[in-house]
């Protein structure tokens, strides 16, 4: 039963000390101000890499905000992940300028090479492949960002060497 499994895993993650400490610290930094809910979740996403049910429940409790609102925000925005992600995040810009310069083909090439679809995390948790709407470097299009490092007009060779280097 999926929900039972989730409830069990929720109980487990709630106990995660590292996560609980991070929540307490982050909420404290913003003086437990509920207006700063989105900012708090952004910081936690950066620190923890994803937002587990336990973390969301903790935030709800410490800010005095209904858990439904916390979940709505966590699931509404692209910055947040409700599931663990890969060690290396690949973002392919799909902004208009990159689009016009062949971004969709580039996504296909990368998806092909890594045997995954956009939005997915690879089985070995090595990569997460995402498409994003405009990284703001349109003259360099098409652009990809791997672990925050930008690559302009990557050739197949470039890609092979980038992915090889990402363990």
């Amino acid at each position: 039963m999926r929900t039972m499994k989730a409830a069990v895993s929720r109980a487990q993650t709630k106990g995660s000390t590292r996560a609980s400490r991070a929540v307490k610290k982050t909420v404290g930094r913003y003086n437990a101000d509920p207006d700063m809910l989105i900012q708090i979740l952004l910081d936690l996403q950066t620190t923890l890499g994803w937002l587990s049910p336990g973390v969301l429940a903790d935030v709800s409790e410490q800010l005095g905000v209904p858990v439904s609102r916390v979940y709505h925000i966590a699931s509404f925005y692209k910055a947040f992940s409700l599931v663990p992600r890969g060690r290396h995040i690949i973002k392919v810009c799909m902004g208009t300028a990159c689009q016009v310069r062949g971004a969709p083909q580039l996504v296909n090439v990368i998806a092909s090479m890594l045997n995954m679809k956009p939005g997915e995390t690879s089985e070995d948790r090595r990569f997460t492949l995402e498409t994003v709407n405009c990284l703001g470097c349109c003259a360099m299009g098409p652009v990809i960002a791997v672990d925050g490092v930008y690559h302009s007009k990557p050739t197949t060779e470039d890609l092979r060497s980038i992915f090889k280097g990402a363990r």
Partner: protein, 209 residues
């Protein structure tokens, strides 16, 4: 303060602060709605109650559930433009609203009244038949009237869903207020109070919905 406006050619008097929808009802003019409920704050998302208003020669389409009455406002509740809007809205939402190929209750009435072809976009539909139009009556009632927030929205766009939060939903067993509010009948049909299987936030997080 009393406001005087015109609805479908009829002069109507209403209290300042009421909406065009409320004024129309008081005057006996029927405007269909899907997401509106008299115990809830207007939400304005189904857009079915839209009407044409004219003010100082300028015409606009607005939703009557949220537009405050104004002196001299000229309101039209039926016209080719309005009728087309209601017809196409039902046609657009039909694939996500249907259960067993049929529309229920109020939606069925609107579809018939406006000549909507509920199967128009069926063959093109690539989404999931969630049996939900996201009117939010369940979410808003639980929040504004019951005060429990046991059911809420998650996701965005075509992935938006209304889901139960199991811990908060323990209170639902004795409540069931949202059951009768649901325009598609989904809540009454699909809710299992033990595990909220297929309807809970955990199902959303695991990608099931």
């Amino acid at each position: 303060m009393t406001i005087t406006l015109q609805i479908d050619g009829k002069e109507v008097k209403a209290e300042s602060g009421v909406t065009v929808l409320e004024a129309a009802r008081q005057a006996g003019v029927h405007i269909p709605t899907l997401c509106e409920h008299d115990r809830l704050m207007p939400y304005g998302v189904c857009r079915i109650c839209c009407v044409e208003v004219e003010k100082k020669g300028r015409k606009r389409i607005v939703v009557s559930c949220g537009y405050p009455v104004e002196n001299g406002l000229v309101v039209t509740t039926r016209s080719p433009r309005i009728d087309r809007i209601r017809k196409v809205l039902i046609e657009l939402v039909a694939p996500t609203a249907m259960a067993d190929g049929l529309l229920a209750g109020e939606m069925k009435k609107i579809a018939t009244e406006y000549g909507a072809d509920i199967h128009r976009f069926e063959s093109r539909f690539t989404g999931k038949p969630i049996r939900c139009i996201l009117c939010g009556k369940c979410v808003r009632y639980c929040d504004e009237v019951v005060g429990k927030q046991a059911i809420g929205f998650v996701g965005r766009g075509v992935d938006r869903r209304a889901v139960f939060f199991p811990e908060q939903a323990r209170a639902c067993l004795t409540c069931e207020a949202c059951f009768n509010l649901c325009p598609t009948g989904k809540i009454a049909a699909d809710t299992d109070f033990v595990v909220f299987d297929g309807f809970s936030v955990d199902d959303y997080s695991s990608g099931e919905l």
